[in-house]
Symmetry: C2
Subunit: 232 residues, 2 copies
Amino acid sequence: MSKYDGTAPVAVTVDLVIFTLRESALQVLLIERGKPPFMGGLALPGGFVRDHEDLRGAALRELGEETGVDGAKLHLEQLRTFGTPGRDPRVRTFTVAYLALGPDLPAPVAGTDAAHARWMPVAQALSPSVELAFDHQAILREGLDRARGKLEYTTVAAAFCQEPFTLADLRHVYEVVWDLDLDPSNFRRKVLKADDFVVPTGAFRAPEVGRPAELYRRGRTELLYPPMVRPA
Amino acid sequence: MSKYDGTAPVAVTVDLVIFTLRESALQVLLIERGKPPFMGGLALPGGFVRDHEDLRGAALRELGEETGVDGAKLHLEQLRTFGTPGRDPRVRTFTVAYLALGPDLPAPVAGTDAAHARWMPVAQALSPSVELAFDHQAILREGLDRARGKLEYTTVAAAFCQEPFTLADLRHVYEVVWDLDLDPSNFRRKVLKADDFVVPTGAFRAPEVGRPAELYRRGRTELLYPPMVRPA
DNA sequence: CCTTGATAAGGTCACATCGACCTAAAGTTA
DNA sequence: TAACTTTAGGTCGATGTGACCTTATCAAGG
């Protein structure tokens, strides 16, 4: 970039913050780096953007390589771009961070690119005991903040649920991501009053114990109005 | 990028969507391009990110060059990164778009980099009669959407007001950006009930006609709770 | 076969907020 | 002084919310 003509060595990558709900915890997909820098350390999945490849396309490709999941069915949105000089010790690197949300995604499969990938509770990944490569801790932090905020005024919570799902499943998403308890009755009232947040299927699912719950699918609404208020 | 090692010709730029209120209209700063491509056409201000320069730093520098304003006093946030192949016919270019909001900013000064810059009402810039270079129309559209949305649940509206300002000034921001009328009385109640959105100065300003209005300064709160609801 | 326990479904009620509207205060202009 | 304009502030019915209660429907156990 020294000549300001775009020919100096600059790299552009995408990094993914992939969240899912496993074992009643919000978990993030991390990979073990197989090459320097930060070899052996943990990092967010990601890679270089290829020629002729859209940014979103690159994110979808990485998503498929790391989780084996068809990203077309997940929620995927751009988070922010990080480009502080020195964040990659090798070359000036800009990374476009993406946030992906999905229902309980499969464990990474051995024998693939994803062999060195694993799920880790977000709380653990953000704790001082874990060190992530590059500035991935900051990216993860921002992904968490974004996800928490978006639950309030959008319907993305349903992206964490495998269809069909019960209202308890959906409430569970809020409770885990926000780390608090919600009143089942009031939650039900809000969700059903919001227009086309969820649509009933007429079918029911019997839990291990208790009354069977009706099953729902995602509605078409993206924006949640009125918003789900997050208690103090 | 063909070798995935970050040495292929790739350019990274920042582009700015700079909004201000002039003559009771939301206006955006556009420049007349002095070189190809799109020579002579209108475009958002922006430029290459330099070595050793932060993304935000590059945005602040361009802001100063184009408006002569010390960006430290404006609201500046990252919008999104655009990198569709072919968006720049010369070389693969990724642009990190920033959104800047400020009070009635000075007209561009002749004899500077900003000589070819001018303010244009956003409605006009987005109309079919105006063609912006590259994908700047899409970027502008997204900046407008972001600004409109952020007025709801943050206090950025105050960034459009020169301090000190009246509640009518602040209300005017909402009315212009949202293109609708708000009830002065209810607006007043909401703003004053929100904690530390604005702080009274005790001073008053006499308008051309009508009762003098109390003057306020920006408070420290960033998030507006409860949010300002946008009528349908 | 009925009780217990658990969860879903749905209702009640006091309270806060909101939109629509009204009144009073404090200036300027005719 | 009257008319007009804008700010400041209040009222009231409608609506949303949190806390809590009741009932329905299943499984498990006596």
